[in-house]
């Protein structure tokens, strides 16, 4: 029996999609975005997407689009393919079937050498664990983002973000000298430093208590909003359900 997928938006429209099938609701869901945001650019467009791990049964994903500044929650149980979908969108996994367009660029058209730079300039990642580079200071962790993406380092931007996230006094500290909250803020700052079109967050709040969960999601929404970045959050954390504009439930 095919797995079910549900799409939902904050206006209360509930959409149930069948995996593997091209439901008429797919186009209805896409149309919702353009209906409400007719002048905004589509930054993510997924169509007919499926991915197989070696010989395993293919995961099939719904068609959807995300426009500039949109916030989308990918939710579902463990193993439902949330992280896989994020990795596919981020170009971390390839050899998929179907279409993924980021900023009007079909990911499959990029070579393995060009996709790295493409990803570095357009997508910022935030993970459940902060995963900062322990050998570097806070400031150098930030400066590394544009360096690795091949973008000129904007020191003013680094200063502004450190100041914005209340990390100015921590800039010369090493990662192990930071509190969990500070480290999470550095990870968020690093993700948005290059002003990416998309910020992708994989289980950013799963290990946090309610207070910290609220702070992190507030911060993600704020800094993504300040940069007009679209925010894509994959989580099974139900506390985020009412915080995002749109949701896709993978089941």
């Amino acid at each position: 029996m095919p797995a079910k997928l549900t799409a939902n938006d904050t206006n209360g429209i509930q959409v149930t999609l069948k995996r593997g099938g091209h439901s008429p609701y797919n186009s209805q869901f896409s149309a919702l975005n353009s209906q409400f945001n007719p002048y905004l650019q589509t930054v993510i467009s997924v169509a007919n997407l499926s991915y197989a791990f070696n010989d395993a049964v293919a995961l099939r994903f719904p068609d959807f689009e995300v426009v500039q500044g949109d916030h989308l929650l990918l939710t579902g149980q463990s193993g439902s393919g949330k992280t896989t979908l994020l990795h596919l969108i981020g170009g971390l996994r390839r050899n998929y079937k179907g279409s993924i367009r980021i900023d009007n660029t079909e990911l499959s058209s990029l070579t393995s050498s060009t996709i790295d730079r493409f990803r570095g300039g357009r997508i910022g990642f935030v993970f459940q664990r902060n995963h900062l580079i322990p050998a570097l200071t806070v400031e150098d962790n930030l400066r590394m983002a544009p360096y690795l993406a091949g973008i000129p380092i904007d020191d003013a931007r680094v200063d502004q973000l450190l100041n914005r996230l209340d990390l100015t006094h921590q800039r010369q500290k090493r990662v192990h000298q930071l509190s969990q909250g500070q480290a999470q803020r550095v990870a968020i700052a690093r993700a948005v430093l290059n002003r990416p079109a998309i910020v992708v967050a994989d289980e950013p709040t799963s290990s946090l208590d309610d207070n910290n969960c609220r702070r992190v999601i507030d911060l993600l929404l704020q800094v993504a909003g300040e940069n007009s970045s679209s925010l894509l959050v994959a989580t099974h954390d139900r506390r985020l359900m009412d915080r995002m504009k749109k949701q896709i439930i993978l089941s």
Binding site: H87, R117, F127, P134, L136, A149
Partner: protein, 418 residues
Amino acid sequence: MNLVFLVWQYLKFRPLTTVLNILLLGLGIAVITIMVLSNLQLQRNISRNAQGIDLVIGAKGSPMQLILSSIFHVDVPTGNIKIRDAERFAKGALVKQSIPLALGDSYRSFRIVGTDKRYAGLYSAELAQGKWWTRSMEATLGSVVATRTGLKTGDRFSSAHGLTSGGHEHDEQTYQVVGVFAATGSILDELILTNIESIWQVHDLWTAADQQRSQQDTIPLLTRSPIVPVIMRGDSVREITSLLIQYRSALGAVQLPRIVNSNSTMQAASPVFETARLFSIIGSGADLFLAFAYLLILIAGISIFIALYNSLRERRYDMAIMRTMGASRIKLFVAVLVEGIVMSVAGSFAGLALGHIALAAVPFWFEQTEKAGITGWYFHPFELILVSGSALLGVVCALVPAVEAYRTDISDILAENN
């Protein structure tokens, strides 16, 4: 921010591992540096000190001892030879030049050499101050002697019997310093030169009457000694230590040593042959040290490989994160290679520094190494080969970890760690 900065931060993050690897490689490089540079300096100085000397004639005994004492002034002479006997070989169709040496006394461990001006000419000596010796008991000092003893023109000093300090002092006869040579970079810098008559005078073989006769120049030209022209040919009393011979032609090399060794009470020793023999003796010991050094470098290479490999395993997630930020596979591959190269090149520089410091320090403990002209300030293109070789070693050691970094599957790592 650049790749070298990133690599440097990682190396700094593991200071103990980094320093130990650098030291381990540095020790191997230092031993090689010491062995090779001291060998090169020794060869250079031997050829410089032996220039213009094809054969040494002296008392029978060890030929190597004769060479070491008469050319390099690091061993005691085999004995003395009669002037009368040496005169047979001082001139002739086979000999272009013969320079007599009379050894046996010293001043504060610096050897006093009775000879003539041609000896200083072998080393292209020039005066830095004063003049050449002209009369008995006048001395001209090598530059190192003047610096170390503080003697200057006009000063007087007493010689001591023997070639090391502590011998009986000839207080009754004092030398006067009349000049100081400019530095030549040869053994001459460590010698006190005077005429042969001075040596005889100190040992009561040259009297005031002899001195007076020599000044009056009364000896007929044909009867003068070809070695020391102020005495008569065939003197059976006075002695010298050795005769430094320069051949007139290649024929001399074939005939003269055989004639001396078979038809006299003296021996002839070839500097080229004896120094080659010396190097072959030293060489077997040096080979052992070099083998030890190569073993150290091999261990250091393995250690760098293990350090990089382990560090890479610890940093798999760092690498995956870097890939999410746009780092290409090639960039991570190069980063690991650069890390290996930085560590090994740092090791080579540390080794070169250690080697030079050791070579500079050795003369403080072993005086003979200074006489052999070994210094820490000698540099040779071979050191560039050592640095390049170390960089290559770094590449080899880092290659497997770098390939691992290149093949990092970011998605799997991120999935398993998130």
